[in-house]
């Protein structure tokens, strides 16, 4: 029940974030959505993710606020407003219909399949020595995932340094 309430809160916050006229208030609304997501992780028994989501959300808010500060711009709506909105809503309706059809095939909420994980849960602590099974999966059983993540982060830092460097001399 509390998950339903949290999800409704997140949807309302996301709608405010998308529709608000002021950029700063829309950034604050997306921060509220992120903190509600942190609470949802905590209810769904994922404390690692809750900690990570909390600190990442704070850093994301700082970066977004620094980017949007003193750069406000009035939102002008003109042109084929009605037609475009109708087209987008129709696309979303089709998406939701097919998603509903696909969701019938998934296992119900609260009854996961757990075919792969059964071995990790039984032998994880004995094989790796780590008590936190998420750490055991992320750094021992499936460490290639973490290696790929490190590569993506490295590429992203290089990209940001290249995009934001000071402009050089023009010949």
């Amino acid at each position: 029940m509390e998950l339903h309430l949290l999800l409704l809160f997140m949807i309302v916050g996301a709608l405010i974030a998308v529709e608000a006229k002021d950029l700063l208030s829309s950034v604050v609304a997306v921060g509220a959505v992120g903190f509600a997501l942190c609470l949802a992780f905590l209810i769904l028994k994922a404390p690692d993710l809750a900690i990570t989501q909390l600190v990442v959300e704070i850093l994301c808010l700082i970066i977004l606020i620094r980017a949007t500060l003193r750069k406000d711009l009035p939102l002008v709506i003109k042109g084929r407003w009605f037609f475009n909105t109708l087209g987008t809503l129709a696309f979303i309706a089709v998406f939701l219909f097919f998603a509903h059809t696909a969701l019938q095939e998934l296992p119900g909420f609260g009854h996961p399949i757990m075919a792969v994980v059964k071995r990790y849960l039984q032998q994880g602590t004995a094989q790796t020595g780590a008590v936190n099974l998420v750490a055991a999966v992320i750094l021992d059983f499936r460490a290639y995932d973490t290696l790929g993540e490190a590569t993506v982060l490295f590429a992203s830092v290089i990209g940001i340094m290249a995009v934001l460097r000071r402009p050089g001399r023009i010949k």
């Binding site: 790796t128 055991a136 750094l139 830092v157």
Partner: protein
């Protein structure tokens, strides 16, 4: 430089920052070192370490934070952390496979246990923390150079 009233935020923010920033860094290191025993781990701890430097920079201006951790040092540390993680992975070839956990596992629920997992946590936290700090530094330096 730290008490210059023209740079950074007000006196209250500066005093509170001076008291708390060390504790935040210490909490990040605790989260990293206990990553295999309790919730947390390299990612969360690294972001907390980056946040402590970002906190310093927001309160005192960029020069104080750059004196603690300059841009070149940040770039070099990130590369070193990436190489560290890769060498931990390659080290597993002594046990027969990439990423093989060959160090003695020890007793569970002890701080020094679980083989290579705490070492990998350290490498990842260094990489994530310094990388995110470098991202924030690049954004701030751009703003400063534009204002001149």
């Amino acid at each position: 430089m730290m008490n210059d009233p023209k740079i950074g935020m007000s006196l209250i923010v500066k005093t509170v920052t001076r008291l708390t920033v060390g504790l935040i860094l210490l909490f990040g290191i605790y989260i990293v070192l206990h990553g295999h025993l309790s919730p947390g781990g390299g990612f969360a701890g690294g972001v907390i370490i980056a946040l402590s430097f970002v906190h310093l920079m927001l309160a005192f201006g960029k020069d104080v934070a750059l004196k603690k951790l300059s841009k070149n040092l940040a770039s070099n540390l990130e590369s070193i952390a990436a190489l560290m993680f890769l060498s931990i992975a390659l080290f597993g070839f002594f046990g027969g496979a990439f990423f093989s956990n060959i160090i003695n596992k020890g007793v569970p629920f002890q701080l020094f246990s679980a083989g290579t997992i705490p070492l990998s946590n350290l490498a990842i936290s260094l990489k994530v923390g310094v990388g995110l700090f470098a991202i924030f530094l690049a954004l701030v330096i751009l703003e400063e150079s534009k204002r001149k």
